[in-house]
């Protein structure tokens, strides 16, 4: 009985302080979001400007989009970007899936966190360093495969992005299901084919989406590694922008932006799926 009384006195209920009650917080966050999104917003708006000016609004028009789609250079760059992104995504996702399965499911591999670290490390290396290293390496071994060079380079830096959602999915997956499959006479490859991979699929798709968008958006490494004529969309945009910004560039950038948003959203939704 006496215990209860002493307990009562000792308990201090901490006063919960909501961050929103801090003075000026809402204005601060509003400014933050303006800072983040206003430039993008303006870019999108002016892609629909009928005038050639990138700063003075005239009237609504989608003419720049038609013009961009009709532009041979843009078409070629977009096609290159697509080919590179598709192959880099494919290779990176396969590699990342195998790595995640090996690290997540093998009982023989020791130091699993070290392997994970090594796979994720390229995220932390400054991109310019990777770019220079890749360029030096390619020219040292005399690799000259055109788009192939870029695909190889992109595959490498796409792996960690593909790996992370797959690994997360695998970690959240009940290993008991694979044990249950074995108990029900499924051998190792049946278990992988019928249980592990179907359940891992949302993670794999999510990783692939991320890898795709990272490849589509990459600039520095591509710039270094790309051979003449192997322009991608970001490099084309960079080349044009140096001659002055036109609403045509705004239109292309807006399309890139929309593709990014779609893929990142897809990656998020599919990754969240149970």
């Amino acid at each position: 009985m006496s215990n209860i009384n002493t307990l009562d006195k000792d308990i201090k209920v901490p006063k919960h302080r909501d961050i929103r009650s801090l003075p000026g917080f809402s204005w601060f966050s509003l400014g933050f979001f303006i800072y983040l999104y206003l430039p993008l917003f303006i870019l999108v708006i002016f892609s629909f400007n009928s005038s050639i000016s990138a700063t003075v609004w005239e009237s609504f028009s989608v003419a720049w989009y038609f013009k961009a789609f009709a532009n041979d250079d843009i078409q070629r760059a977009a096609k290159n970007s697509m080919i590179i992104a598709v192959f880099a995504t494919l290779f990176a996702t396969i590699f990342a899936t195998m790595a995640a399965l090996a690290i997540g499911r093998s009982k023989k591999i020791k130091y699993k966190s070290v392997f994970t670290g090594v796979i994720i490390l390229p995220l932390m290396i400054p991109e310019i360093v990777t770019a220079v290293a890749t360029l030096t390496f390619f020219s040292a071994i005399g690799l000259s495969l055109g788009l192939g060079n870029i695909i190889i380079a992109h595959t490498v830096f796409c792996i960690p992005f593909a790996y992370m959602p797959i690994r997360a999915r695998l970690q959240g997956m009940d290993e008991g299901l694979e044990v249950a499959a074995q108990d029900l006479y499924a051998n190792k490859s049946d278990t992988l084919r019928l249980i592990t991979l179907p359940l891992l699929a949302p993670g794999i798709f999510s990783g692939a989406m991320l890898a795709f968008i990272i490849s589509i958006d990459d600039f520095i490494i591509t710039l270094m590694v790309a051979e003449a004529g192997a322009n991608t969309l970001p490099i084309y945009i960079y080349g044009i922008v140096r001659k002055g910004i036109t609403p045509e560039i705004n239109a292309v950038s807006t399309i890139l932006l929309i593709i990014s948003i779609i893929f990142v959203t897809l990656s998020y939704w599919i990754g969240k799926k149970r």
Binding site: D174, G176, L177, V179, A180, A181, Q182, D183, L184, Y185, A186, N187, D190, L194, I195, P198, L199, R274
Partner: protein, 366 residues
């Protein structure tokens, strides 16, 4: 070890041992030897960490055997991987495949064994009907309640007609009413299929009510194997007596022996009796085990009673537990059925007389 070709024995475990490597290594199972008969409902019972699940996983093949051998109907299966062993498991958390329909789940094992799709689905449907879920085949696992998922897990494990069905605490995630219903359901399934069941639980009531035989386990060892009433009425040691049901334990010394009884003196000078037991003589130190429901309240005209005072009362619905102080530091728990009006037989502080039939006394040599 002799080769066991006797087909009335389903599983023979000879000195099974499991050590998990590590620093320090963990001995999950010290050395287990047992025989499980064909068509038997056999239960591994014990507290968590006693090695019962490890033993089950060794039989299923999910863990490598550190030492010893495992024989299934005459075949040494010690080194076979789980997908080759004709043994299926019902898992504690069901482990239904979430991306497959209920029917696909149940047909999974048969399909892997090479049964044609149509036939596998037909058998799966029959299995679902056996567990009263015939209409649920097209649903997905997450559309079913816990109890229904449990029955699907049963159907899935039974569908390939395993030689032995292993059940790893399958009822522990269900609520009380469902658990009780599933007990008779499991018993019925075992009777109807004629498959040997090996059931793991920490719930003594489950074990006592369903099993043909029980192995009580503790700290990686089998303490006793026997029928439910053997385990309860004649516990082999103090652990078994303590784990199964309630018991009073008394350290005692054999005081005198008479023609029919042995008299034991317990701490405080009171005398308890048992029938004559071979090999127990005056002066021996023993442990006496006495179940609380085998002690009766009597009036003071009866001879040879224990005297005490009621010190605690716990009302349990159909029965009431009374803690009786026999002396300053010696108590005895007595369980009595409640009267029609639910009034206690005695109140706290009241003096009572207790009578014990000597035949109710269990004696372990200390």
């Amino acid at each position: 070890m002799s080769e066991d070709l006797d087909l009335s024995v389903a599983i023979t475990a000879n000195n099974l041992r499991k050590v998990y490597p590590g620093n320090p290594p963990v001995v999950a199972l010290k050395s287990a030897s047992l025989k499980i008969a064909d068509n038997e409902f056999f239960t591994l019972l014990g507290p968590s960490g006693c090695g019962k699940t490890t033993l089950l996983r060794l039989i299923a093949g999910f863990e490598d055997i550190t030492d010893g051998e495992l024989i299934l109907y005459g075949n040494n299966i010690s080194n076979l991987p789980p997908e080759i062993r004709p043994v299926n498991t019902v898992f504690q958390h069901y482990s239904l495949f979430p991306h497959m329909s209920i029917l696909e789940n149940v047909a999974f094992g048969l399909r892997r064994l090479g049964t044609a799709k149509l036939q596998a689905e037909q058998i799966a449907q029959e299995m679902l009907e056996l567990v009263h879920l015939g209409d649920y085949g097209s649903r997905m696992p997450n559309q079913l309640s816990g109890g229904q998922q449990q029955r699907v897990a049963l159907a899935r494990a039974l569908a390939p007609q395993p030689k032995v069905l292993l059940l790893d605490e399958p009822l522990s995630a269900l609520d009380l009413k469902l658990r009780q219903a599933m007990r008779s359901e499991l018993k019925r399934l075992q009777r109807e299929t004629g498959i040997t069941f090996v059931f793991v639980t920490h719930d003594q009531e489950e074990a006592l009510s369903m099993s043909d035989r029980i192995a009580v386990m503790s700290s990686g060892e089998i303490q006793q194997i026997g029928t439910p009433d053997e385990i309860y009425e004649r516990p082999a040691n103090r652990f078994v007596a303590d784990f199964i049901g309630d018991a009073n334990f008394y350290d005692a010394v054999v005081n005198t022996t008479s023609e029919n009884n042995i008299n034991y003196e317990i701490h405080g000078g009171q005398i308890l009796q048992s029938p004559i037991i071979e090999g127990i003589t005056v002066g021996d130190k023993v442990t006496l085990i006495l179940r609380p429901e085998k002690i009766a309240f009597v009036d003071n005209k009866v001879k040879n009673t224990l005297l005490g005072k009621v010190s605690e009362i716990a009302y349990l619905g159909n029965t009431t537990d009374y803690v009786i102080s026999l002396s300053d530091d010696l108590t005895m728990k007595v369980r009595a059925e409640n009267h029609f009006d639910g009034e206690p037989i005695a109140n706290i502080g009241e003096s009572v007389n207790l009578a014990i039939d000597p035949k109710a006394m269990r004696v372990l040599s200390a």
